[in-house]
């Protein structure tokens, strides 16, 4: 379980990115973090695993205060926090397998990782994960040979290889088409359910967030302005987060996407049936 209390980040330039952010994420809950660009969504999830140093406040993961950890302990804590990135952030020139195995870096010695001689259990697990995300045939390909959706699946497998207790997910669908976006979101949520993993998904697509998450937190200028179930995200709440906008039109567009996907699937089933 994750507990944030009074988390604040002030950048060196004096910009207040986060102000007094406090919330709990119980085991197995998938949280969608929404808000306009520059609201501090990226900063918030990076303050949790301290890729960005918070200025004050506490981050408790299963009882350990991550903010107080020194470098060695921080590395041990980080390996328990899987992270999935916008634009995938795979190491492009390494193979898919190396990218997945890099999730084990915190657990093996430098020499083992340097010679790529990982323990057998890690390798078996990596193959299992690649199979889970549907990429077992691509293990030896270089990461830059894959399509966007496939790369994000490798990113998911890398995060899961860490055997995480928490997933931090930064705009997982930002560079994917609507259909692939939904597939990736579905995969992430399924995996969180399977493993009872808590997750924070930083996402700018409100409709995807509502559809796939258990709870929505709205951030505006570094403050939590909404926290509740997806159903409670009314036009009023959206206006509080983003400012005035025509929300019905957006919802209609998203419904069209979903419908198109349904039709695609029905079509595919029909074709399979015909065979």
């Amino acid at each position: 379980m994750l507990n944030l209390s009074a988390l604040t980040k002030i950048y060196k330039t004096g910009d207040k990115a986060l102000t007094d952010v406090s919330f709990d994420v119980p085991k197995g809950q998938v949280v969608g973090l929404i808000g306009p660009s520059g609201a501090g969504k990226s900063t918030l999830i990076r303050c949790i695993n301290r890729l960005v140093e918070p200025s004050s406040g506490q981050v408790l993961l299963n009882g350990t205060n991550l903010v107080a950890l020194r470098s060695g302990d921080l590395r041990r804590a980080r390996r328990k926090i899987g992270m999935i990135f916008q634009e995938y952030a795979l190491v492009e020139r390494l193979t898919v397998m190396e990218n997945v195995l890099s999730g084990r870096l915190g657990y093996v010695s430098f020499w083992r990782s340097f010679t790529r001689r990982y323990p057998g259990a890690d390798i078996a697990n990596a193959f299992r994960l690649l199979d889970r995300v549907g990429l077992s045939a691509h293990a030896d390909k270089r990461a830059d040979a894959l399509s966007g959706g496939q790369r994000q699946r490798v990113g998911i497998a890398r995060a899961l290889a860490q055997d995480p207790e928490l997933l931090l997910i930064d705009e997982p669908t930002a560079s994917l088409d609507p259909k692939t976006s939904r597939q990736i979101m579905r995969l992430i949520v399924e995996i969180c359910r399977e493993r009872g993993l808590p997750a924070i998904i930083n996402i700018h697509d409100v409709v995807l967030a509502q559809q796939f998450t258990d709870r929505i937190i709205g951030l505006q200028a570094g403050r939590v302005v909404f926290d509740g179930p997806p159903a409670a995200l009314t036009e009023d709440a959206l206006t509080r987060i983003y400012g005035a906008e025509d929300w019905t039109a957006m919802r209609q567009g998203a419904r069209d996407d979903a419908q198109a996907e349904e039709e695609d699937r029905a079509q595919a089933k029909k074709m399979l049936g015909a065979l």
Binding site: N49, R78, M83, L90, E92, S102, L105, F110, S113, Q162
Partner: protein
């Protein structure tokens, strides 16, 4: 909707805003250039004598003599090639840690300052001057040449490698850091794959620079084919000198083409 828009547009001046200053600066620059050209003294009598020597030189070049001094030439060549290869390997090996230390995004500031200073010193001093220094220290021969070229390689590769490391995609490094990787694992997994093709390319490029330099520093006594060339010239054996020059040109061309081909291959 009836407003009329201008039909002409001029690019606003980018560097000097004032028109007067632009004219003054242009006229001043041209005047200085004319005065400077006027101040170069040309001694035409000596040019004529020089042209005569150039004729003999070209004649020698047209009838290169590979055989008379072949032993000297082949010794010089072997020495030069040995010097080139060993100094490139040693220089690159030393410059990798220095380049990593000189990358602002990886190194703490004290290490950054140290590594940048080493690079600055190596780059500030021209090879010939370093060669004269090492020849004075360790005597004539290939050892001084080897040290000179290794030293020059450190500055070259170190600086360019550091710049390449500073330009890596930070997202890939961040992702590896987020897995709980140590600093060395970060270098091995996030930095090395991104800079390796460039490092190989630079090393091959430096290999052919080092061969060319080995011919130059030989003239001040640091061994190799340059020494042989110098001897041939001072003995007025222009036919042997021509042969040596042709061999140098041939080797440089082979090195250049094969290295650019190899660089295209590693992507």
């Amino acid at each position: 909707m009836n407003s009329t828009y201008p039909t002409t547009w001029k690019r606003p001046p980018q560097l000097v805003q004032s028109r007067v200053w632009r004219i003054v600066l242009t006229v001043g620059a041209i005047a200085y250039l004319l005065v400077a050209i006027g101040s170069v003294e040309v001694n035409w009598a000596r040019v004529v004598v020089g042209m005569e020597r150039a004729q003999r030189f070209i004649a020698g070049f047209l009838q290169p003599d590979f055989t008379t001094r072949w032993r000297d030439i082949s010794n010089g060549l072997v020495e030069s090639l040995t010097m080139t290869l060993t100094s490139t390997v040693v220089g690159v090996l030393i410059s990798i840690p220095i380049g990593v230390g000189a990358a602002r995004n990886l190194a703490p500031s004290w290490l950054y300052v140290i590594c940048r200073s080493i690079i600055a010193v190596s780059r500030a001093v021209q090879e010939i001057i370093i060669a004269i220094f090492f020849v004075a220290l360790f005597g004539f021969g290939a050892f001084a040449g080897f040290l000179t070229l290794s030293f020059a390689t450190i500055g070259f590769i170190g600086k360019l490698l550091a710049e390449e490391i500073e330009d890596i995609d930070p997202a890939q490094a961040e992702a590896i850091r987020a897995t709980g990787a140590s600093w060395f694992q970060l270098i091995n997994y996030a930095v090395q794959p991104q800079v390796m093709p460039r490092l190989i390319g630079l090393s091959l490029y430096r290999l052919d620079i080092n061969f060319r330099e080995s011919a130059v520093i030989g003239i001040v006594g640091a061994g190799g084919i340059g020494g042989t060339l110098n001897t041939a010239l001072s003995r007025y054996e222009y036919d042997s000198a021509g042969a040596i020059l042709m061999i140098i040109i041939a080797i440089v061309m082979v090195a250049e083409y094969s290295s650019s081909h190899l660089r295209k291959l590693v992507k």
